[in-house]
């Protein structure tokens, strides 16, 4: 089962990968640096992706628009998606859930490794 990490910051993607690996998960990881790359990655790998971790503010296509698109395509709508973003206001959290009603979680930056593990651990262990 693959994990798709979507963030325009390469450093942030590396930090998340380190946390995943230190937690003992060896899943193959796909990376995308904006929503458009994420669409490509999802479109060609959707049968194998079991978790998406997605930032909000990115060039070309935002994370929330990517997740909205995912929520409307039946073949991928049930893939667990977790927002991982510096956008932590109540307004933004509500907006994200409205755009993707099946959103599996919302992690606000800065987060500790434990905070991210608590969110994604149950999803990865279930798979």
């Amino acid at each position: 089962m693959k994990i798709l990490i979507v963030d325009d910051s390469a450093v942030q993607r590396k930090m998340i990968i380190q946390i995943i690996r230190k937690a003992g998960f060896e899943n193959e990881i796909l990376e995308a640096s904006d929503g458009k790359e994420a669409i490509q990655a999802m479109g060609t790998n959707y049968k194998d992706i079991g978790l998406v971790l997605c930032d909000w503010n990115m060039p070309n296509l935002s994370g929330v628009d990517f997740l909205e698109a995912v929520s409307k395509v039946p073949q991928v709508a049930n893939i667990p998606c977790v927002m991982v973003t510096a956008e932590g206001t109540q307004q933004k959290i509500e907006e994200a859930h409205k755009k993707n009603p099946l959103l599996a979680g919302y992690v606000t930056k800065p987060f500790t490794p434990d905070q991210l593990r608590e969110k994604i651990g149950p999803i990865l262990n279930k798979k």
């Binding site: 490509q40 959707y46 698109a69 409307k72």
Partner: protein
């Protein structure tokens, strides 16, 4: 509390939260009043724009050594020279810091949207950083044992009524939806 005090508190709280979460360090954060920024070597500047009930920008300025040390801590590796990860990491620092500030100011109804970070590397003298004549400015020193950051918050309050509808035009997510559907359809052939 007036806006200026809210902003000082929001920056301070956000910086404390970020440095303790990411680096397990507690920085010393002080409002800087002397106006001069002196760095030993070439600087890196990273900024994010704000627009909404507060318009302005947050600018981080730090020297190359501090930047390398901060991103080394983020990635748990030892970076000696500025590379693409260091520039990216500094952008992420200002992104996280501004996001935290935004979250704290929401409680007082000071809402705004933020841009993507811009990072500029090079130039010896950051004293030419523009401090707008049309906006108020608060400056901070953020210091730990092995790095130092200058932060400039330039702002003005927009007293006009802003539409709260910041939704992306409908066709952007529809276009993404169409593209995803097409790719999945091709996989099925």
């Amino acid at each position: 509390m007036d806006l200026r005090q809210h902003l000082i508190q929001a920056v301070t709280d956000s910086a404390l939260e970020m440095f303790t979460s990411l680096f397990s360090v507690v920085p010393v954060i002080e409002e800087k009043k002397d106006g001069a920024i002196k760095l030993e070597n070439k600087n890196i500047m990273s900024s994010i724009g704000m627009a909404g009930k507060i318009d302005g920008s947050i600018i981080l300025i730090l020297d190359q050594v501090s930047a390398c040390r901060i991103v080394s801590k983020m990635l748990s590796i030892d970076i000696k020279e500025v590379n693409s990860d260091v520039l990216d990491g500094v952008g992420e620092v200002v992104n996280i810091l501004t996001g935290g500030m935004k979250r704290k100011l929401e409680n007082f109804d000071y809402t705004f949207d933020i841009s993507l970070p811009v990072v500029v590397h090079g130039g010896k003298d950051p004293a030419t950083v523009i401090r707008s004549a049309y906006a108020d400015c608060i400056e901070f020193n953020i210091e730990c044992s092995d790095f130092k950051i200058f932060l400039i918050l330039s702002f003005k309050v927009d007293s006009s009524t802003h539409s709260k509808d910041h939704a992306v035009p409908e066709n952007k997510s529809q276009e993404a939806n169409d593209m995803l559907g097409r790719l999945i359809g091709e996989q099925g052939k």
